[in-house]
Point group: C2
């Protein structure tokens, strides 16, 4: 089926099965299909850190994410375009989703100044001055060649006052209109609007309704996984879900832990991205069917067992925990490479498991078994 839908010239979303609120299917794009629910590894600055792109693909990714903020500063959007676009530059011929840059401007840049028009800021790399407007963000995403683009939005930090959340949400709605106008008609690509509204239900509903009325090709849920408890995040998803068009893909931005993914899929989310598996992989922290395993821990130093003999990724099956521990302790790059791959493998395995379970109407069973494994924890010491 996946191969059958490649080569389409239209962006489209097909739901092939539902299980309660969860759905499975695929997003079709001219660059290939994206099986949903999908986890998108983060390729911040044009590389999924410590991974060859063919490995990222072999691990099961149909799509990766690129960050407008990082790429506009270095190597620069116009330069990427001259080099043939982001897909060609990073040797990833399949779909790419880009964020709008807004989130990282808020978290990384210096001397930010926000106006109705957009945001000006200074680069965290060299202090150079830049401006990001809804129109410029879409222009940059076009220069990169992104298949799924995001509107510029303002993401407030939680907790914040209702008034502040409302102001940012309303601004984001106006920016959604401008972004949609700037994006125009591009049948093979999509621009998603982003639901904002902090942790306030009525604001989230207002945002979802207004975006739904714009008839966009997909909808992101933003401003979550920014420090709030998981139950707040899940409540916000439940709040907006009925107001998002059922036949459009839903993308929960920047989420999350394996448990976050499972609980969000249950609530109707189709797409996710998160730095967690790759960042943790560079710090010796592995995600497995046993839950989180900290390979820096001395208890692994003499353990000849593989990290997870059922992993889809060979390194998890052939290298000993003792060797991985050694690589982490010695700050060896290979340790980062191996554990990043192991984590991405687990994330993709989890998504594949959920897709199969939804298709069979057995998501609850799958989730129960999966959580049982996490609760049991890591292998007992030898």
């Amino acid at each position: 089926m996946i191969d059958g839908v490649m080569g389409t010239d239209q962006f489209s979303f097909t739901i092939t099965a539902r299980d309660s609120r969860a759905r499975t299917g695929f997003v079709s794009t001219p660059r290939g299909a994206i099986r949903t629910p999908a986890f998108m590894p983060v390729g911040t600055a044009g590389t999924v850190k410590a991974m060859h792109p063919n490995e990222v693909r072999a691990l099961g990714a149909d799509i990766v994410l690129g960050n407008v903020y990082h790429l506009m500063l270095r190597p620069g959007a116009e330069r990427v375009a001259r080099l043939g676009g982001l897909h060609h530059m990073m040797n990833w011929p399949r779909p790419i989703l880009t964020d709008s840059g807004g989130f990282q401007v808020m978290s990384l840049a210096k001397l930010r100044k926000l106006t109705e028009k957009g945001v000006t800021f200074r680069s965290h790399i060299d202090g150079s001055a830049h401006e990001l407007t809804p129109e410029r963000s879409i222009e940059i995403q076009g220069l990169l060649g992104s298949d799924i683009q995001m509107q510029l939005d303002e993401c407030v930090k939680l907790p914040c006052s209702d008034k502040e959340a409302e102001r940012a949400m309303e601004l984001s709605l106006r920016w959604a209109e401008r972004s949609a106008a700037a994006f125009g008609q591009q049948p093979g690509k999509a621009m998603f609007g982003i639901v904002q509204g902090g942790a306030v239900e009525r604001l989230r509903i207002r945002s979802a309704q207004a975006l739904a009325a714009m008839d966009l090709k997909g909808y992101s849920i933003g401003g979550l996984a920014v420090g709030e408890p998981q139950d707040v995040m899940l409540r916000m998803i439940e709040t907006v879900e009925p107001f998002l068009p059922s036949h459009k893909p839903r993308y929960l931005m920047g989420v999350g832990t394996p448990d976050d993914l499972v609980e969000s899929v249950r609530r109707g989310v189709d797409m996710f991205d998160c730095v967690m598996p790759t960042r943790a992989g560079r710090h010796g922290l592995a995600y497995t069917r046993f839950g989180k395993v900290n390979l820096r821990n001395a208890r692994h130093a003499d353990d000849p067992r593989p990290l997870d003999e059922q992993s889809d990724w060979e390194p998890a099956r052939i290298y000993s925990r003792a060797y991985l521990h050694h690589l982490v302790k010695a700050d060896e790059i290979l340790g980062m490479m191996l554990i990043t791959g192991i984590n991405l493998a687990y994330y993709q395995h989890l998504m594949g498991g959920m897709r199969a379970a939804i298709a069979e109407g057995m998501l609850d069973d799958f989730v129960a078994v999966t959580k049982e494994g996490w609760a049991r924890g890591d292998l007992p010491p030898l």
Copy 2:
């Protein structure tokens, strides 16, 4: 032929062709054959930095090197043995050569104290106290499972007085006897003696003659490439070459640049190791048929051309110089992975070229063409 000699239970060396003083052939071991002249990537602490072992093999390596000093401190030789040995631990089933630890004790360790018995020192990692004697070094190399082991030697820094060079050389000869006794009879493995003697011809000859009389399975030339000019190093090789048994492999330790390799092969050297291709790869410096290319240089920032479209390693052919430059500037691990691989590919390509040229009696022509390429330098700007 390579497959034909695998599975032997004896360590042996076969010369299949000579071209003036240069030779080509293969070292046979129970773990596989080593085509000579051979370049051995350095796997310091149980990993060729930033490379998967299957990549190291795909790039043409028949053997890698491990460092006793690093491995005895972390993860520890006894621990490696409990984990099934270094080959199993690092997933490298082919031959491994280990140094004796002496060189790094001199360059890295703290509070060294040298006696006739051996050397005591403190770890540069945690300050713990350790002792390395000829017997303990061989024991450690046995625990690691090394196929080609080195005697403990004392390597003096150049320049030094003749008297100091002589004292260290004579001590190294006595340690060679003790190392050989400790190694005993191991038909499938080898222990090499190490020629020392600083930059003093008569000392080098004395060392080579004394070691030759011990009838060891191979001979290393140590104490070179430690800062002296290339002509001094080459003169020392020329000095000892006539005194080293012609039918035994000769290993020039810690060498070197591509030009060092070419000039040393011409003078009868069969084996090399050096951190240069891997270390340079982590710092944005590439070795190619155009000579050294510094990818940090801004002139690559907009260059869409591959680094070397004739490379044996796909990344050198498919990624643009601009992308490699970007990865280096952004300190991306993928940049280190790609350029390390590109460098190892070039080193192995060079060795393969020399082996083929020697077999055809055309080494001089090969060297002339190779040096012409280096002298021409990198591609002109677009």
